[in-house]
């Protein structure tokens, strides 16, 4: 258990101009009650809430622009196509990719990773080839590789982490061999909050002739993403964790890699010409976007990116860093509470367990106070096994959370402890 720390002070935010109340006013759902109390939404790692600007953009699309894209000569179709492709350009700028051909719209991070596993993996991996991932991956960056290993005879290697939730980098180095084809790593762990040294990991992968795929789902909302600076080969994230709608996500892939990869799904729009004798495929990015896409999703994601860039990712990062420090201090004051995931570099996530109280019951008691936290294994069963616990309770922050909400969480936890004592 953590040593007693002095009572936490309100953080001196690095950007005192960060007006969290004004920003909260942009999010309609934050003002609804739960059990007669204000909603305190602390489950942002599961999904984020949406600003009015995103909701209105999607609404306006269906009221004014809705039409299938890439096909029609008529006005509506041109407008919808421009909006969708305009969103793709916004994504490109958001992650500083070189070319919109490198931006594939998918259903989300999970589909993005499955796309790479299926298209890149199945065409390249040979028996005995090695795929290296870490012990703190979300199931979406484990299972696709297990499936591909079954299909190709490649083998999976897993980098361990220490009790603080930090990757053992010397072990990582040892696991990279001339047989390593791909390294998969989570940028920020959704269960532990660890921010991994992805730039360094990508470099290590490249030194061994392997490509690197980064699961960025939990990072992109909390700081700037620059895929060129990272030199990532593949970078995946989800719209709904970025204040955008569900059902849309992104796979960034370096153009040369994507060009050499066979299609993932077949159908309309990913083709150039179709006969029963031979079919040829469309150029990037359309080669990997079969069928009518989630048009309103892409456009909504574009609106979310616009909103975030107005607020400023640096300002968000600074505010959240202070809020996380405050929350960590308030929670570790509570006797019987143990934080799970105490890496030196963390973002947003506070997973914890209480002596004698199952996370499910913690979550139930907090819900009665209007507080939403997630309880369970967070799609990271290996992490839970590593700490020999069935589950944690997890509070995860976004820039619209505030210190008074953290105070309410701490009070709620103390209340739960009293109730079950």
């Amino acid at each position: 258990m953590a040593p007693l720390t002095p009572v936490a002070e309100r953080p001196q935010t690095a950007s005192p101009s960060f007006d969290v109340e004004r920003l909260r006013a942009d999010f309609p759902i934050l003002h609804r009650p739960v059990h007669g109390r204000p909603l305190i939404y602390l489950d942002n790692a599961a999904t984020t809430q949406k600003p009015r600007a995103v909701i209105d953009t999607i609404k306006r699309y269906y009221e004014q622009e809705n039409s299938n894209i890439h096909r029609g000569v008529y006005t509506l179709s041109q407008e919808a196509t421009a909006a969708y492709e305009g969103a793709r350009e916004k994504v490109r700028g958001f992650i500083n990719a070189a070319d919109t051909k490198e931006i594939i719209f998918t259903r989300g991070t999970t589909e993005s990773i499955n796309l790479v596993a299926s298209s890149f993996g199945r065409s390249r991996f040979k028996p005995g080839d090695e795929i290296v991932i870490t012990g703190m991956e979300h199931h979406s960056n484990i299972v696709p590789w297990q499936l591909i290993c079954e299909q190709t005879g490649a083998v999976l290697r897993v980098v361990p982490f220490n009790d603080r939730g930090e990757l053992l980098m010397d072990q990582f180095e040892k696991l990279l061999t001339p047989r390593t084809r791909l390294v998969g790593v989570v940028h920020v762990s959704n269960s532990l909050g660890t921010v991994n040294p992805v730039r360094q990991i990508i470099q290590m992968a490249h030194e061994h002739g392997a490509v690197a795929l980064v699961d960025g789902a939990q990072w992109v909302a909390h700081g700037k993403t620059d895929v060129r600076s990272l030199d990532a080969d593949f970078y995946a994230f989800s719209g709904h964790k970025l204040f955008g709608p569900t059902g849309i996500g992104v796979l960034f892939g370096k153009k040369a890699l994507l060009e050499a990869m066979p299609p993932y799904q077949g159908g309309g729009d990913m083709i150039s010409s179709v006969t029963f004798e031979k079919t040829t495929y469309n150029d990037l990015p359309h080669k990997f976007e079969a069928g009518t896409p989630h048009i309103s999703g892409g456009i909504g994601l574009g609106a979310a990116i616009d909103y975030l860039q107005d607020v400023g990712l640096d300002a968000i990062g600074n505010y959240e860093r202070d809020l996380l420090a405050y929350a960590t201090a308030r929670l570790t004051e509570i006797p019987g509470l143990r934080l799970v995931g105490t890496a030196a570099q963390k973002a947003s996530v506070l997973s914890f367990v209480l002596e004698h109280i199952h996370p499910h019951d913690i979550g139930q008691a907090l819900d009665a106070r209007g507080i939403a936290v997630r309880t369970g294994h967070h799609c990271c069963q290996p992490v839970m096994d590593r700490f020999r616990i069935p589950a944690t309770a997890r509070a995860s922050l976004a820039f619209y959370n505030k210190t008074t909400e953290v105070d309410a969480l701490a009070d709620g936890i103390r209340g739960a402890i009293k109730m079950f004592a």
Partner: protein, 150 residues
Amino acid sequence: MTDLDDLYQDLILDHTRRPRNFHKMPDATSMADGHNRLCGDKLRLYVKVIGGVIQDVAFEGDGCSISKASASMMTEAMKGKTVAEAEALYEKFHTVLTGPPDETPDVPELGKLAAFSGVRKFPVRVKCATLAWHTLSAALKNQGEPVSTE
């Protein structure tokens, strides 16, 4: 907070803090494992059935208070019942858990188990409350064979 108090009645909290029949049973005639994948409740149920009558029942495991209290109270209720009576009791227990939230269930043969009526307001917890019962059902059907169940 009244809804929460309905769910976590004193009786349930008591059985959470001090679960009854919470131990191994080396001379069990059957055993089954139950796992609630959604929230991580896990338990192992032991039962000793002789001549079609449940002589003894015990459990081990780790889970939320609803799953633990339900298992504890179930083991108390099951001792001395026939296998057929046990199945019938499971069905009655299910009616306590489901059904209109504002009605009080009228099932006197359930006795203390009626305390779980608060689960009606929290349908997500039904699986926690039924885990032990579902597992016992599996154990009774597979005499002498341990079986894993959802």
